[in-house]
């Protein structure tokens, strides 16, 4: 059975290879190949899952070792896969949502002449992401880690003729690279500490090493997670990443890739459990991002950017949960899965809306679309209810648990702080999602003719697009409840991530109740602000906070001023230095010799006799020298 694991990666990888090397002859049927292979991978995943369910909890983990990758004295890196419950969850999420989005893309990218390539990239992403989650050592995980980075780079910049897209892609890759640096240093640190970087040995032997070392590793891993999961301070790329085609935003920048950080932290749970300081850092990052994303989400008028903000903040929730240790891991993953469903659904909905509105992304130019695209409206609405955590829907089950866990951080002030933040986040989430909902589907229509001057005439999207949305909507409605049936999800993950029941500082029902209240308040506020009076087509100046939030709370400006400008000046001055100083020294010496020889030249006056003199003189000196040598 475990021999099938490799197939999970192999199938989409094959697809990518075929599609990217296949050339134009595959332009017509290419997307089918891609989709098929994604589905194959999903099927394999399901097969393995059922097989796994067959076994008892302790013996579910599968392991497949392919070949020795980098065998060097005292440094063994193998290509080996490990499929335990945690990986399995991801595999199903990735392949499942991935397949759906493949299907969706068939319709969405229909008019793009480079559709074949698009599907090639998508398959490449699937392969990398699967490699990331089923790798059995950190180095192989790193490969997948960078692989998804590459795929996201290619997909964000898919419409390369748009400079904005190219820049966004580059930015995403670079910011991720900073995170990757953290990961690679972490791996080195592991190697020097444990002499290996396979999950098993490393995580088992955390007991025998110093806490300081573990804290260092933990912080570095956190840095990596920040890069990949768009957490403060490395979150700046996610907004721009929305330049990519919407299915990409749905798959990579909502459902799967951006959650890799959560996976990393959960996977390395043993390390974090032994390093409370690192955990605290994780929690803080999570909490900050949670608010950051939410606030940004409130201000954006671009529907995708608003959703991106919300993604940020939702992942903030997950990171927060993951930072809480055994009481949080399971819920982090659970929220991750449910979020995968509804956020993907929301993005696909947004994509469908744009599809109908000539790729218009400004929500202020939408309005009253519910009549024109009912399916989209319904599915989007369900996703909306799910994400704000409307009781009974997926989001409710997972987010509520996280808030509880946050309150249970410790029975002191911190518990209150983090719990409060989580709670507040829930409210804001409700606010901006309601805002999105209202501005898009309700109110009167504010459509504008696009650049080419043709009036948009919204229409429902083709089946290939709506079906995935429907499926995801189902997921976002029922998944959470399903998982929570006598804590099946928690039990399922327990062997990998351990589980302790959280003991919040205030009683669970109180938390639940307050959550509901908060989200209702948020929604109501949004309704008051946007539902009651018509939405202006051009954004009002807005408060200072709003304006800051529109600019991602000035984070980009900061980067630009400090990093970009500084870097440019640095490089420019260095180029100058290299040319004048380093090179100048050498050329200077050369010039000096030139001048010297110029003077020496004067001695060559062309008179045979003076040459003869020098000859004789030289001979005389030589003889004298030899004689002296003899004498000495």
């Amino acid at each position: 059975m475990e021999n099938l694991i490799a197939l999970l990666v192999a199938a989409p990888l094959l697809g990518a290879a075929v599609l990217l090397c296949g050339g134009r002859r595959l332009d017509r049927g290419g997307h089918w190949i891609g989709t098929l292979l994604a589905v194959v991978s999903f099927a394999v995943g399901v097969l393995l899952f059922t097989d796994m369910l067959g076994k008892d909890a302790e013996h579910r983990a599968l392991h497949q070792s392919l070949f020795s990758w980098i065998p060097v004295e005292g440094f063994q890196a193998d290509v080996a896969f490990q499929l335990d419950q945690l990986s399995m969850t991801f595999v199903l999420l990735i392949t499942g949502v991935g397949s759906l989005i493949h299907v969706y893309s068939i319709g969405y990218m229909e008019h793009d002449e480079r559709r074949r390539r698009f599907f090639g990239y998508l398959n490449l992403f699937l392969a990398a992401m699967l490699l990331l989650v089923i790798a059995d050592n950190y180095l192989l995980l790193y490969v997948g880690w960078e692989g998804v980075g590459l795929a996201s780079y290619l997909l964000i910049g898919f419409w390369q003729h748009k400079p904005s897209a190219a820049t966004a892609a580059k930015k995403a890759f670079l910011v991720n690279r900073v995170g990757d640096m953290g990961l690679s240093i972490a791996i080195m640190l592991m190697f020097t500490t444990f002499g290996t970087f396979a999950f098993g040995p490393v995580l088992e032997s955390t007991a025998d090493t110093s806490e300081g070392m573990l804290t260092a590793i933990g912080l570095l891993l956190l840095l990596a997670a920040c890069g990949k999961s768009a957490q403060v301070p490395l979150q700046s790329w996610l907004g721009d990443a929305m330049e990519g085609p919407t299915p990409v935003s749905a798959l990579i920048h909502a459902a799967t890739m951006v959650t890799a950080g959560v996976y990393l932290i959960t996977r390395s749970g043993a390390i974090f459990n032994a390093a409370p300081d690192a955990q605290l850092a994780v929690v803080i990052v999570g909490a900050v991002t949670l608010l950051f994303g939410a606030i940004v989400g409130c201000a954006k008028d671009d529907i995708k950017k608003a959703l991106a903000g919300s993604t940020m903040s939702q992942i903030g929730y997950m990171i927060l949960a993951a930072g809480l240790g055994p009481i949080g891991y399971a819920f982090a993953i659970m929220h991750l899965v449910t979020h995968g469903f509804f956020k993907a659904g929301l993005f696909l909905g947004a994509g469908s809306v744009m599809h109908g509105m000539n790729d218009e992304v400004d929500m202020r130019k939408y309005g009253g679309l519910r009549k024109y695209m009912p399916v989209t409206f319904v599915t989007f609405g369900l996703g909306y209810l799910a994400i704000i955590g409307f009781p009974g829907l997926s989001g409710f089950w997972s987010k509520d648990k996280i808030i509880e866990a946050a309150f249970a951080y410790d029975d002191g002030i911190r518990g209150w702080i983090f719990g409060g933040v989580a709670l507040l986040g829930a409210g804001i989430t409700a606010f901006y999602m309601t805002r999105v909902m209202i501005m898009t589907f309700f109110g009167e229509k504010r459509w504008q003719p696009d650049a080419d001057g043709n009036e948009p005439h919204p229409h429902e999207s083709p089946k290939s697009m709506t079906i995935p949305m429907i499926v995801l909507a189902f997921g976002s409605v029922f998944a959470g409840g399903l998982f929570s049936l006598n804590e099946s999800f928690v039990k399922w993950l327990e062997p990998v991530t351990q589980f302790e029941h959280p003991h919040p500082v205030i009683s669970v029902p109180a938390i639940t109740a307050s959550t509901v209240v908060v989200l209702l308040l948020g929604a109501a506020l949004a309704y008051v602000m946007y539902g009651r009076k018509p939405v202006p087509v051009t954004a009002p100046r807005g408060s200072l906070l709003t304006r800051a939030a529109r600019r991602d709370l000035l984070q980009d400006d900061f980067n630009h001023v400090v990093l970009v400008r500084g870097g440019e000046h640095l490089t420019r001055s260095l180029v100058y230095v290299d040319h004048t100083m380093v090179d100048g020294v050498v050329n200077g010496t050369a010039a000096g010799f030139g001048g010297l020889s110029g003077r020496m030249r004067k001695l060559q006056n062309g008179f045979a006799r003076s040459y003869a003199v020098s000859m004789f003189g030289g001979t005389a000196i030589l003889i004298a020298a030899t004689l002296l040598m003899r004498a000495v």
């Binding site: 065998p71 690279r177 290299d578 050498v586």
Partner: protein, 532 residues
């Protein structure tokens, strides 16, 4: 006396050079084919060497030894260890691609046929370089190595100075200035002379050290001296050893280029044609790093350890400095050159980290850097030859017009930023780990190079390939068959070695083990003996 395989491997290209040069200029194409044929034959022989070499066996194998200059105990002594085999393989592998890529670089100007371009000479010189490089990888006699180390410069000088790409001549900027052709020629000769002078100075200092070594040791045989050093028969005064080491190291540092001796490389690579640039950075410069590994460490273990801190710092500077300057370049070729400087920093760092990971990584790095730079530089060459300009600003939106070219270029760039899954990642990570285990701070700083690498490669790709299509590139043709034949195998190799570098590592590991035992260094043990 078995068949002198190593001599043959070096002799074939040498003969090829002579034969090619002898072809009458009317039969230009025949000369090209001959050159290609001979380079392939060399590749074949190199393969035989690899097959006959037994990694588990003695340190030096397939040895040959004949008296050369008996009076000074100079011998024609050949022998290869794993590292040598690997690098011979790399050289023999790259040359056919270089020849194929430079197929039309030395054709006479169609504009004015008066100006003579010795096409055969171009290919003959390339083969000559190949012969010398291969022999220098084989030489186990210090003097013989020195001779080759210097002789190499002559053909390189002519290759750089004699055959600039016509792209430079038709730079719009230069055209505006007028007399662009002369200007290009002037820059070219400047670059060539700079290359020659730098390396000659290095070589001369090395010569002094070589003589000094002879005075101290009484012969030139690497194996004998190393053995004597190991057994303690040959005692060197600390200062003597240090001076000799510096003499050798200086030459190699110039060749490899290590900051601040690097400035010749950007000029040379900028002015030479892309294939020649590849020849410089991917083949010839490797002799320098190889020699550090083989001569510096073996002959002067103590001095090597003594100098390690300084060298590591210089390597670090090279890494960061090279990367930063690469970001600041306006000229594609110079950018690649500075990138190479950064990479050489990594190699040297790996060598002097004195850990098995570091040195295996360094060796692997030499090979991977050769392949990846070849891929990137050759594609860049194709690009430049199409547009007739080396300035990044003159390109834009190529991806739209020539997707295959852009794709190969992207893969080359990704290899340069050592993306996991491509060969350079393996080596770079090994080097970093190897360094980190002994010098954590150095390792961490070096890791910044990764980010910078991403910066300059992606900026290059973005500026040239993406964005709206520039008018001048609108008509740009995609890769032709010949060019595809050049690039595709290299890329395939990059991927293969990235996924399955075992063949090379198996070849290299024992040799590295020997080197480490020379310097009496052991890998630091992990803090926790996990899973043992």
């Amino acid at each position: 006396m078995s068949f002198p395989l190593l001599t043959a491997t070096a002799a074939v290209p040498a003969i090829g050079a002579i034969v090619t040069a002898a072809v009458p200029s009317a039969r230009r194409t025949a000369a090209k084919w001959l050159a290609l044929l001979f380079s392939l034959a060399t590749l074949l022989l190199a393969g035989v060497v690899g097959a006959r070499f037994d990694p588990g066996g003695d340190r030096y194998q397939l040895t040959e030894s004949h008296a050369w200059i008996a009076d000074f105990g100079v011998r024609y002594e050949l022998g290869v260890d794993g590292i040598g085999v690997a690098l011979i393989g790399l050289t023999a592998l790259l040359i056919p691609f270089i020849i194929l890529a430079g197929w039309h670089d030395a054709d006479p100007y169609e504009t004015d046929s008066k100006r003579w371009r010795p096409t055969q000479g171009f290919f003959a010189l390339i083969l000559m370089v190949e012969a010398m490089v291969i022999l220098s990888f084989e030489a186990t006699d210090v003097f013989l190595f020195y001779v080759l180390f210097e002789a190499m410069l002559i053909p390189m000088y002519f290759l750089i100075g004699g055959f600039g790409d016509r792209a430079a001549a038709t730079q719009p900027a230069a055209d505006a200035a007028g007399g662009s052709d002369e200007k290009a020629a002037a820059q070219r000769s400047y670059a060539a002379v700079k290359f020659l002078l730098y390396n000659l100075v290095g070589g001369l200092i090395m010569l002094a050290a070589v003589i000094g070594l002879y005075v101290v040791a009484g012969n030139f045989s690497l194996q004998e001296i190393a053995a004597a050093r190991a057994s303690g028969e040959l005692e060197m005064a600390t200062n003597t050893e240090r001076l000799l080491f510096l003499g050798f190291f200086f030459a190699f540092a110039v060749k490899a280029p290590l900051w601040p001796l690097h400035t010749w490389l950007p000029n040379a690579m900028g002015e030479a044609t892309a294939p020649v640039a590849v020849l410089i950075t991917a083949v010839v410069d490797k002799v320098g790093t190889f020699a550090m590994l083989r001569f510096c460490l073996q002959l002067f273990p103590e001095a090597s350890k003594w100098a390690t801190p300084v060298i590591l710092v210089l390597a670090l500077i090279s890494i960061v400095y090279g990367a930063l300057l690469a970001v600041g370049q306006r000229d594609i070729k110079r950018l690649v050159a500075y990138a190479s400087i950064s990479h050489f920093g990594f190699i040297i760092m790996g060598i002097f980290a004195m850990t098995s990971q570091g040195q295996s990584g360094a060796t692997l790095y030499m090979i991977n850097h050769g392949i990846s730079t070849a891929a990137l530089m050759l594609v860049a060459g194709f690009l430049i030859s199409r547009r007739g300009s080396r300035l990044i600003a003159d390109f834009g939106g190529v991806q739209k017009v020539a997707p295959v070219l852009a794709g190969t270029f992207l893969i080359g760039s990704l290899a340069t930023l050592s993306l996991p899954g491509l060969a350079p990642f393996v080596s770079e990570f090994l080097v970093l780990v190897g360094t980190f285990t002994r010098y954590p701070v150095v390792g961490i700083i070096a890791t910044f190079g990764i980010v910078l690498a991403a910066l300059y490669t992606l900026v290059l790709y973005q500026r040239t390939m993406t964005g709206p299509v520039k008018l001048e590139v609108a008509k740009m043709p995609d890769l032709r068959v010949r060019e595809l034949v050049v690039v595709a195998p290299l890329i395939a190799l990059l991927i293969f070695l990235g996924v399955y570098p075992k063949p090379v590592t198996d070849l290299v590991n024992p040799a590295v083990g020997h080197t480490l035992s020379d310097v009496q260094k052991k890998d630091p043990k992990p803090e926790v003996e996990a899973a043992k």
